[in-house]
């Protein structure tokens, strides 16, 4: 019972570290997906006196992915009843060209400013409209959220690591009799501490399995998917292969590193 309690303490602590890391990864993934969505939706409107080809726009700034001309026919057709054909032809000749520029990624506010200035330097370009403000507010909020989650994740990982260290010190004490007897018969340090390492590795594996199960349940209920879909994002919160393997490596790394700290510290004391 006592041993089970010790196991649960370490498993819960390791699970907390893994969960904090996975939440950070999921937030990062959400923001990346949101950036892609913004990038796809976002475009800059350019008004010019002359016709531009997509290659010309691309040559002006490598942030430009593609461009398309905005057709003016629809507007002119609406005016057909109100104007004479002569005036309409004149208007057609004097009407500037409108272009929509799509970018290869969602830019920062300063990047938009620089791009606008660069485009406006061209004598044929009359006006550039960025519309960045509305997108920028949500994006900045999400970046702030990411930073907060990062700070929390680091704090949780640090506090939990200290708890694991304390737990392992207890293990060390519980196994001290066996270790001292083994030492009297010439067992090297790694063999004397083999049980500690075995326990740490087993608990790391169990913590990873519990994490996988937790995300499987979250995935099955689908409430996170619903929440994300309301802001137009669809991401995989937990990839059982990639995230599972990464979590296992983190759990093993943390458990083995902390066991080593305890074992080496104890050897030096002896």
């Amino acid at each position: 019972m006592k041993s089970l309690k010790n196991h649960i303490s370490l498993i819960v602590a390791l699970f907390t570290v893994l969960f904090a890391v996975q939440i950070y990864v999921a937030v990062d993934r959400t923001i990346a997906a949101y950036e892609t969505r913004l990038k796809n939706d976002y475009s800059i409107i350019v008004v010019s006196n002359k016709t531009f080809t997509p290659v010309e726009f691309k040559a002006m700034d490598n942030l430009v992915e593609r461009s398309e001309a905005i057709a003016t026919d629809q507007v002119l057709n609406r005016l057909q009843g109100e104007m004479t054909k002569q005036n309409l032809d004149l208007l057609k000749l004097t009407l500037p060209k409108f272009y929509r520029l799509y970018l290869n990624r969602f830019p920062t506010p300063s990047e938009i400013g620089k791009l606008q200035k660069r485009l406006q330097k061209h004598p044929a370009i009359v006006r550039v409209e960025g519309y960045a403000q509305t997108h920028d507010t949500v994006y900045k909020l999400m970046l702030l959220f990411k930073d907060v989650v990062q700070v929390f994740s680091i704090a949780i990982a640090a506090v939990t690591s200290l708890l694991i260290l304390k737990e392992m010190r207890l293990w060390q004490f519980q196994h001290s009799d066996r270790k001292s007897i083994m030492a009297l018969f010439g067992a090297p340090m790694w063999l004397r501490s083999a049980v500690l390492f075995r326990l740490a590795i087993v608990d790391a594996i169990i913590a990873t399995i519990v994490l996988c199960l937790a995300f499987f349940v979250i995935d099955q209920y689908g409430w996170m998917d619903v929440l994300l879909q309301t802001v137009g994002i669809k991401i995989q919160l937990f990839n059982f292969l990639n995230d599972g393997v990464r979590s296992l490596l983190i759990a093993l790394g943390v458990a083995i590193a902390l066991t080593l700290t305890i074992v080496i510290g104890n050897e030096e004391e002896e």
Binding site: R178, I181, A183, L184, F185, G186, A187, M189, L191
Partner: protein
């Protein structure tokens, strides 16, 4: 004759200005059977501890199995201990391990295969008449039985030297007899050097032996 233990001006102490053993000079031949006697608190156990590196000499020199014990490295000490069998007065068995695994300990440490270790352990448990207790745990056995397990463990890896600290201190006649027979057998058949620390030399000893006595920190051979 080869010497297993050589002490020259050996001084042992736990505190800086309090010598337990003072400037001792003696040697122990390979393959001999040695008793070290003395009153309680005379330093018998401390001397035995210095033979397996649990205490470092404060002055003088001590060689065990050709290894200088004064400033011995951890790896060298581990190597030396893998060739020594120790029997403790308080048995020092691992409570959470079965009797079989306890006896197997020196073989596990020396890296023997499971087959070889298993056969050796069965043989030794037969010698100490505990084959039927192999699956039990130390707290389930009597003191005498636990000491027989400790004896079997000390012999498991065929050590060059067996150090025994009051091996029959609190034991019944039957267990004492089993232990003396095993120590005598190891000495006469395997030529293992035996060093026993005790209050009294038992009357049932039949092999020739050397006797050292400790008094007021001095060691002298009793003829």
């Amino acid at each position: 004759m080869d010497k297993v233990i050589i002490a020259e001006n050996l001084s042992l102490s736990y505190k800086e200005f309090e010598s337990i053993i003072s400037k001792a000079n003696f040697s122990i031949d390979a393959g001999s059977f040695v008793f070290i006697t003395g009153a309680s608190g005379s330093g018998k156990s401390t001397l035995l501890k210095s033979f397996y590196g649990a205490i470092t000499p404060r002055a003088g020199s001590l060689m065990v199995g050709g290894v200088k014990m004064n400033k011995i490295s951890t790896s060298k000490l581990n190597f030396l201990r893998r060739h020594i069998g120790v029997v403790f007065q308080d048995y020092k068995l691992i409570k959470e391990w079965t009797i079989e695994k306890n006896v197997m300990l020196p073989l596990i440490i020396s890296g023997y295969t499971k087959d070889v270790s298993g056969a050796q352990v069965q043989k030794l448990l037969g010698h100490v008449k505990l084959i039927h207790q192999a699956g039990k745990y130390p707290p389930e056995l009597s003191g005498g039985e636990q000491q027989r397990v400790a004896m079997a463990r000390a012999l498991a890896h065929n050590p060059i030297l067996i150090l025994a600290d009051e091996p029959t201190g609190n034991l019944d006649e039957y267990s004492s007899q089993v232990i003396w027979n095993l120590l005598e057998g190891a000495n006469s058949q395997l030529k293992t050097t035996i060093v026993v620390v005790t209050h009294h030399i038992p009357s049932e000893i039949t092999v020739p032996y050397k006797h050292f006595h400790i008094e007021l920190g001095n060691i002298h051979e009793v003829s």
